[in-house]
Amino acid sequence: MDLTLDQRRETNMELKTEKTVAYCLAAILLVVGVVCYAAFPQKKPEDPIRIMLKSAGGTVLFDHKEHASEDGYGLDCTECHHMWENDGTKPEACTECHTAEAEDDMPKLSDAFHKQCISCHEDDGTAPVECSVCHAF
């Protein structure tokens, strides 16, 4: 049976409302999305929490916070960082000087990390020293 004129009108009205709701939703969410991206850009925390060190032998997920915080291993900054930023308030990031390839007398990044991490882990006695425990991912 064909729809009556009233029923057709009702259906058309419903479809129109649906479309209007969808257009409004799309417009509002677009604005919300753009504002969120523009006003709240991803910021790196002042002190790194975790650092992903990519390596052919397996990526290392280094928990910087765990090593540095009092609740964790409580290491002093200077136990790893031996260079400070110009104003002397903040340790220099390892990657500022150590690059992927060795330059002159500067050890390359992976050598610097290996020397730093492994010697400390060995001295500690309880920290893992097997490659696969750090090069895990």
Binding site: A22, L30, G33, C36
Partner: protein, 322 residues
């Protein structure tokens, strides 16, 4: 001989029961809300940005395709919004804007519209997009890498990556109730297990998704993971861990149950869910990828037309060369 199982139909005119695609779409979005809200409360504005941009971009891509193909505008049915929402739920909160734009383009245009729109897509559109992003921008979709700057006070190593690297011993670092309550890193809307279960049950009770697919998927993930766990308890995680981590729950209730890419008959639905579950655990435990849900469901989407060939016999006797 009379058969009590016969479907009894009556003459026209029929009365429409009031259901519509838009009602189903908005119900699905409502069901996803608990998981989405927890994601926003954890990650804040960046998560809201990904979700809002994804839903709006998916709708805009749909509208652009409608105009390009000279078809009536179909964004009113809310299907594109659901695709955008599910895609965003699978993404990390740190996803850049261009990944959301590209992802929703792949989902709506390549995953759905080029096949003819709603009901014609052979694969789940949101999963097509996620699979392409996973293969193209591996590090962006690696939750360990993407969420390095977040700390919520619980273990922030992606659970499935942890068991892949450290074996079943890593399971003890996670609390089962915590996993259920969203205390794990992951996609914006994939970590709140309880919320996803409540949303899934709501969809089942409303008749929007089929319990056969969800239940068989979860049961087969459980059984397959249990068999692996029994064979080597040191290497393979327990089945409950597999159920509560990664994309398992969102896959069971929101992804595998997508209408046009899943079977319609009873037995095929059970097979579809069961094989997807088995493949998920196989990929997780012995495959290269950390989580297997995306590729497992896509594989079963491909097998869906074949599975649906298993159907009840038609009544009466066929006559050849009639």
């Amino acid at each position: 001989m009379p058969d009590e199982k016969l479907f009894i139909g009556s003459h026209a005119p029929y009365w429409h029961n009031g259901s519509s695609i838009s009602a189903k779409s908005y119900d699905t979005m409502l069901a996803a809300l608990p998981a989405v809200v927890l994601g926003i409360s954890q990650y804040g504005a960046p998560a809201l940005g990904v979700l809002a941009l994804s839903v709006s971009c998916a709708m805009i891509w749909e509208l652009i395709m409608n105009v390009a193909m000279k078809r009536p505008a179909s964004i009113g049915d809310g299907n594109a919004a659901v695709i955008g929402l599910l895609f965003a739920m699978l993404m990390p909160a740190t996803a850049p804007w261009w990944a959301v734009v590209v992802g929703t383009f792949v989902a709506v245009v390549i995953g759905k519209q080029i096949f003819g729109g709603i009901g014609c897509n052979p694969l789940n559109p949101a999963l097509v997009a996620i699979a392409i992003l996973m293969l193209s921008w591996e590090s962006m979709m690696d939750f360990n890498d993407a969420l390095v700057n977040y700390d919520f006070g619980f273990n922030m190593i992606y659970p499935l990556a942890a068991i892949k690297s450290f074996g079943a011993s890593a399971v003890s670092d996670y609390n089962t109730v915590g996993l259920l309550m969203g205390q794990q890193p992951g996609g914006i809307g994939t970590t709140f297990g309880l919320g996803l279960i409540i949303g899934g049950l709501y969809l089942i009770l409303r008749g929007h998704i089929r319990w056969e697919i969800s239940l068989s998927f979860l049961a087969s993930v459980f059984v397959t993971a249990l068999l692996f766990n029994l064979s080597d308890p040191d290497k393979y995680a327990n089945p409950v861990f597999h159920l509560l981590t990664g994309y398992t729950l969102i896959g069971a209730f929101f992804l595998a149950t997508e209408d046009s890419s899943s079977p319609v008959n009873f037995f095929p639905m059970l097979l579809y869910g069961a094989f997807a579950g088995i493949l998920t655990v196989l990929i997780r435990n012995i495959g290269a990828f950390v989580d297997g849900v995306v590729f497992a469901i896509l594989m079963m989407n491909v097998a869906n037309p074949l599975l649906d060939k298993i159907r009840p016999k038609a009544m009466g006797k066929g006559i050849k060369h009639a």
